[in-house]
Symmetry: C2
Subunit: 541 residues, 2 copies
């Protein structure tokens, strides 16, 4: 037995402890399939941690998980890092080729996957025959296993005994790993330590009591940010740490989500605008009015369109916005009321709530010019930050890491300004990435695939505003002889089948042009192209 | 300029930053004398930090502060640790001899003191002629200075430029130092790092949104725990971190406190029961009814008497209890509603709120037997803890440190049990310390002083319950010939004048007995003595 001062480690098992001890009867609900009290869940996660060790998962092993927002995923959020292994939250919205690329880059040793998603990654065995699969069926039906495959449900047996010290768990150990795609389709790995996760969740807990949401321990949270997306913005950890009932929606479906809001008394959710758009577009939305007036929604991932926000307000939904990156765990700012805004009238408060917000405790945020100097208040510049929970690096990529962290500040690549009340407003992404439904479409990768067709001499893809999806891609083509759009769409569908791109990446429109306008550095002038596309579409209305 | 990943440090300047950036117009109010916005205060604290450096305060210097709860103290809570120096919060309720003893033990290099308190410590110059005095007058009147003395207000000039990295500030640096007295009157030093303070404040912020208090950023806090007592339970840091208006009451006076509650809209306070008793005993208390019904009170330091709690409830005051030690920064548990209690009826909730509470996030608490093994739920044992913010050691006392941290758990020396809902109940202090008005009276020191009188053959002092003070000391005397109580009181008053003991330590009653009952280890049986005293006083009613 160790003696003397106990050097306490900020590791995520502490949240499990806290939830189990203080809120033993609080619930975790997975759709209408399964429910756990915090006490039961904590025991179950500890049993799983032991079982994973027993089958050979070792400290430092990367464990890829491919799943929707389920009770299984929730278990893994805790059990995998608790034994010193690393939870790789695989982005299942990538095309299969890209999924496998990230898994190979991460050097996943294990894959934990829902049986109906196996098709996405079966090919990985060609690259790494030693990778071990742990599979589960959502209805707990027995998986047909070979000697190398494990049925997940078999692992939930044993003792819940768990001691972080015996595991040698330290707060600076890597706990999670995920990939974020830029314009090139070469996703970059970012990773977080236990300490990052703990501090992020604590800061979120501290500030969630500010107006307009003023969460208490009796609120019920259902995050509608997929669990493969930057820790579902931290809520699976915040819930246990802060005693909040937690609802997991499974496969995303607005009808299911509405039912859960009503049946489980959900009072708070986080999501990208597209999800809110789809929920409010449900034909029976008016039947849910009594529940929606108690619903508070945090929006992130991209700017919240004012029209959508006003529609939500008509249902009594309290709405506010936030901002962050995969690289920042993710939350940096939230549009809660500061000491100035809290005395504004409702309409002005509402407008402020649509901004990107003010830093959450611990975040230091600056707006800088190209030399890294602060611009005056109100002026546009690049957003750079420091926070207790940023990624240290792009995984195995020292060059991009140096670029990210130049001058000792994390460069977001986003442009914005701070208004007179201290609120951040995003102006435009510096990068040419397209974000559709909260997911990046890597424009350079898409351009490469399109350019493979012999009829294309030159191509540029840009994103244009879209009411439902936020942005949608359109392509400008300089043809090589004749350009046939129908033929191109067929060609791209084949690339979808080959797992090179996703179906929803296919541009909504193809514009044939004589040449593509260039910037002074001879790159496609995407700003001008976006304007051209908008004008063209305007004309055609 | 540094480059690459920025290793973020949990240092208390971050709270100043956060307060200034997000809640610039939020106020800090010192009685009716001075007010600051968070922005102004942050600037002022940074100016002070620079000035302290300029006059020669160095990294690692121990800076003793002797003051009531003032704006000056609030500045020092930040400015001193921000330059890597250590804030020694001197307990001015100790007798002067003990105050000086702690300052010599701490090796204070600087004393920052209010001019009307100088009498307490002037003698220290006899022991350490090099100690430098920084003095201030509460009305900003000019201090008559010699060349070795500095007027505090002169330091609030200069630039608010401050960069923790230039200071070389690290989260594991010692930030605060204070002394806690046991029964022997040999106060033990305990100290905390920046990280301890930050994590403690974050956890307090997280849980303060739980019922029954449900604080939001619009609440107004006035801590009535003196700032020389374990960081006023952390509220001077919580306020800036969480955007809460903060009221400083100056010299403690129930009439002033009530006026501040009314005039500044105070909605939350923390205190020992005696303070609440004195406030509710004010003759004009009923005039404050409209304000008291919005007042939420956290009680700690000793058990909350039910009678007092019920009286408070009649005024609509929302009341709950907590538990912690100087050694634990201090908060360990708070009687907020967990997932079981929140559905109880009001009366049962009220009873639970009088318990010591449930652990705040991060605290691991066990009840153990003499071998350090867990006792079954409901059984009495010693409370042992681990938390992210405990003291590492008793300062310069490896022997007592080993005792405190045996088996890798901090031994509180308090007895308690956990009830069926998970709430801690304190049973009795294992030690024989007496706590009166929230302050310890070191019984062994007091016994030694009493025994110096020639008429005393043997003496034992115990604490008995007291409605207002919590406990009051009574003495059992085995006389050496004749015992004259009047003569004894005169003798003890002389010891007060000599600075050996405090006036309020003098026992309320002296019982002359033939012998003092002993335990099996031949120590005074203080449990039995307490019973004897209670019975005797009962009889005399």
């Amino acid at each position: 037995m160790s003696s003397g001062y106990y050097k306490y480690q900020l590791t995520i098992d502490k949240f499990l402890d806290s939830g189990e001890t203080v809120f033993p009867t609080r619930e975790i609900v997975y759709t209408d399939k399964r429910r756990y009290t915090f006490k039961k869940f904590a025991e179950s996660a500890k049993i799983l941690a032991n079982a994973l060790k027993k089958i050979g998962v070792k400290k430092g092993d990367i464990v890829g998980v491919i799943d929707w927002d389920t009770d299984v995923y929730m278990h893994l959020y805790y059990a995998v890092p608790m034994i010193g292994a690393v939870l790789h939250t695989v982005n299942l919205r990538y095309p299969p080729e890209l999924i496998i690329k990230t898994m190979l880059h991460a050097e996943d040793k294990w894959v934990i996957i829902r049986d109906d998603l196996i098709g996405l990654v079966e090919d990985i065995k060609n690259f790494n025959p030693n990778i071990r699969f742990i599979i589960y069926n959502d209805d707990k039906e027995k998986i047909k296993v070979d000697d190398k495959t494990i049925d997940f449900w078999d692992l939930l047996q044993g003792e819940p005994k768990y001691d972080p010290d015996e595991e040698g768990l330290k707060e600076d150990m890597m706990a999670t790993l995920m990939y974020t795609s830029g314009t090139t389709g070469n996703p970059k790995g970012v990773w977080f330590t236990h300490r990052d996760l703990v501090l992020h969740a604590m800061a979120m807990g501290t500030i969630s009591r500010a107006p307009p949401v003023e969460l208490t321990t009796r609120d019920v949270v259902m995050s509608l940010v997929p669990m493969f997306h930057v820790h579902s913005w931290g809520f699976p950890y915040v819930a246990l740490a802060s005693g909040l009932k937690y609802v997991l929606p499974g496969v995303y479906n607005p009808a299911t989500q509405l039912k859960l809001i009503a049946n489980e008394g959900v009072t708070f959710s986080a999501m990208v605008p597209t999800i809110l758009f789809m929920i409010l577009a449900q034909p029976d939305i008016d039947d849910y009015k009594p529940y929606l007036k108690n619903w508070k929604v945090a929006i992130g991932g991209e700017a919240l369109p004012e029209g959508l926000a006003r529609k939500a307000r008509e249902y009594g939904i309290k709405l506010y916005s936030g901002y962050g990156l995969t690289e920042t765990c993710p939350v940096l700012t939230v549009a809660y009321h500061n000491s100035i805004v809290e005395s504004f009238d409702e309409e002005k408060k509402f407008e402020i709530q649509l901004s990107a917000g003010v830093p959450i405790p611990g975040v230091k945020l600056r707006i800088v010019d190209e030399e890294g100097k602060d611009v005056p208040r109100g002026k546009i510049g690049e957003i750079v930050v420091r926070a207790p929970w940023t990624t240290r690096e792009y995984y195995k990529d020292p060059e991009k890491t140096a670029q990210l962290w130049r001058g000792g500040w994390l460069h977001t690549g986003d442009l914005g300004y701070i208004d007179e009340y201290g609120y951040l407003h995003l102006v435009d992404r510096e990068k040419d990435a397209i974000k559709s439904g909260g997911e990046f479409i890597p424009s350079l990768l898409l351009e490469t695939v399109i350019s493979l067709h012999p009829s294309v001499a030159e191509v540029a893809v840009v994103g244009i505003r879209h009411e439902k999806w936020g942005e949608r891609p359109v392509a400008f083509i300089v043809p090589n002889g004749q350009f046939d759009e129908v033929e191109m769409r067929k060609f791209l569908m084949k690339k979808v089948e080959e797992g090179k791109i996703q179906k929803w990446w296919i541009p909504d429109r193809f514009f044939v042009v004589e040449d593509i306008p260039k910037t002074s550095t001879m790159k496609a002038d995407k700003k001008l192209l976006r304007e051209m596309a908008s004008k063209e579409l305007q004309k055609q209305k």
